[in-house]
């Protein structure tokens, strides 16, 4: 579902600065108002349950690999990290929609999942964590021994 929000004045100039931008072709705005800073970094997560594995995807563009952590404690999986600004100290911000800071999300995994099997992959700003279902939980036949 798209929520379309047009800016109040599509030809709004940035406080009269000569180097500003006008956004003319921008009908869909998915978040905070354009000219204010967003407080707190809340990456989007997607959780998919497949037949034999759970896949958790976190959108973390601009987060360095060494600033990401995936930890398992019992059956709680925690994905955490931080995004730091790479903006030049001497620059002035004209528009700030990207948030910075630390984040942490925890997931309680049902007993059906094998917490020893957690794997994580980070590519193009997306962290993908995979947990497979335990073998013991999958349907299996038991051999009957007769004496």
């Amino acid at each position: 579902m798209h929520i379309a929000m047009t800016p109040a004045n599509p030809f709004e100039r940035f406080l009269g600065r000569p180097w500003g931008f006008d956004e003319v072709f921008d009908p869909v705005f998915p978040g905070a108002p354009a000219s204010t800073s967003v407080a707190g970094f809340f990456p989007c997560f997607a959780v998919d349950e497949g037949d034999d594995a759970l896949t958790i995807r976190a959108e973390v563009p601009g987060v360095a690999a060494e600033d990401l952590a995936v930890a398992v404690d019992g059956n709680v999986l925690t994905i955490s990290g931080k995004r730091e600004s790479t903006r030049d100290e001497a620059s002035t911000v004209q528009r700030s929609e990207r948030a910075f800071g630390s984040f942490s999300r925890s997931f309680r995994l049902p007993d059906t999942y094998d917490t020893e099997s957690v794997s994580a992959n980070h590519d193009n700003g997306v962290l993908t964590v995979r947990v497979t279902k335990g073998k013991a939980v999958r349907p299996r036949t038991i051999a009957v021994e007769s004496n």
């Binding site: 998915p30 790479t86 004209q94 700030s96 193009n124 700003g125």
Partner: protein, 117 residues
Amino acid sequence: MSATEISTDQRTDPIPYQTPRVEVSETKQAIRLSADMPGVGPGGVSVALDNDVLTLEGAVGESDKQPARRYRRRFTLNDAGLFDLDNICAKMANGVLEVQLPKAAKPEPRRIQITAA
């Protein structure tokens, strides 16, 4: 074909564009745009300038890791003449597209020769 016959498992409409969040910052030398396009690699991004409209686009195809996605955002430069358009550069890393728009150097004052008629 009546409206009730539309099949939901055949997706014929194109993937809708998402609007990437951006940060725009300015130094004495340039304007810098950073756009979040998670999932998009360097090969899936394009930056185009048509007169005074700058278009940033990114796309990533469907994979076992994630669904297909497209991003697009356009900006109109208030005064294109203030920029050194030939030296616009862009780089894509870790799902973030960074575009640098250098400002044009102020032209030096010069004298114009007057030729006799």
